[in-house]
Amino acid sequence: MKKVMRTIKYLMLLLLLIAGGCKNDAKKDKPKKIAVIVSTLNNPWFVFLAETAVKEATGMGYEARIFDSQNNTAIETEHFENAIVSGFDAILFNPTDAEGSVSNVGKAKVAGIPVFCMDREVNKTGIATSQILSDSYSGCVTIAKYFVQANNKKGKYVELLGLVGDNNTWNRSKGFHSVVDNYPGLKMVAQQSADFDRNKALEVMESILTANPDIDAVFCGNDAMAMGAYQALVAAGKDANVKVFGFDGADDVVDAIKEGKIMATGMQFPEVMAQTAAKYADEYLKGKRDFPEKMPVAVEIVTKANVDNYLAYGKK
């Protein structure tokens, strides 16, 4: 009887081992999964970034899925928890908030999932595997040089800032002021946030124009705001006298530069950022561990003189 029981025991163990082996084989056969967690899909720029990341990851043989954080860190947290529980192997991440997103990246790190930030950074080093970011500061230094020259070093101007919690807002503003502030003839009469939003920029600009009807230029932290500001200037009949500068390389602004409505923008390359993030994730999953903490992606100035070289979002 004992012998029979022992045999049954061994048989059961063998079955368990076989079952375990089958499960492992099933996992081995399944492609690894990459989560693309993006701040918002309500802005075509981020849609392009996320879709390119998915396309790249899928092209490398991974299963990829987009999660929309709707500019809300609480939703972003849910996505991270979901990605961790669902067994995603890497996260390509566009954060909603440089500070607020830190804990989410930290959770992924604890769970052993590498995170590659795209375009926006988190304010803590050593938690994301690498952060691939537009060199917003240097891009705005270049725009600022052009701004000073286009305004003959004098005049009144307005600055529209993006989301105050986003590092890109301040990197762009700091880069711009690192040049413009050396010219005392250029006076900033208003500096307000319009949250990177076109409609908000329109409202903010209308209000600024009431108090400052004699401005010469507007520097905007992104192209959506540049278009909103331009719309307000058209409504006020001042579009011919006020020079508008943006940042991003959105399609409507590239067209507006061609038509002479907008002076310049900083062309970002979301395709390059998404491709690099996917490439780094692939290298990580194949064993590489040595990545730069921050990898800047050059921003190129687009003006009427060189606009024919560019398509929206740096597409070729």
């Binding site: 240097s138 730069p292 921050k294 800047p296």
Partner: protein, 212 residues
Amino acid sequence: MLAMVQKFFKYLFLLFLLFVIGYNSIYFKKLDEVNAASVSKKFDAKNYAAGYFQKLLPVLQQSVDINSLHGLLHSDPSKAFDTYSHGLGIGNIKYFLTQGKGKVISIEESSMLLMVNDSSNLNIRIATEFVYGNAIRDAGGIINLKDFTSTSDLNDVSAEINKKIRNEVLPTFLKQVKTGDMVAFAGAIELNRQHPDMKQMELVPVTINGIY
């Protein structure tokens, strides 16, 4: 009675435990000391820039001659970029370290035009006012991106390098120079690899001196 003694020791032990945890959880430091510690940890971009100049000068002396670089950019741009350009980030913007001599043709508000020696038609524009950006920081190819965890520190390095050129190198030179003078220069040029616009090429000087 025994139960009471046991209870007493139990509470005494709990109190002791709470004291130990509390004592080790909370500590006080002077705010000045904390602030001083955070300041001392801050990256010193000015000091780094000064050190960078010392490292850059020998590299600058070995840099490609402007005539050779210009010729190669025309005949084989890919080879010119692969051989001589650097850039810390990803993308089309690249920087060249170069040197040469030339005759001052014109002095304008924010730049001057030189006719480069030993060349029949090569003119080079030297920036004398708008010295901003990453040209000098990146052109040497001697900074390792992995040494920096903060992009802000990298930006500060560029700002300090450029400030030194604007405040120390250029004012002395601009006081003396006049049209027709011969000038020796060494510095950095920015070019877009995908759309190199040679006509808009401008050199940001690191060293520039009249030859009298």
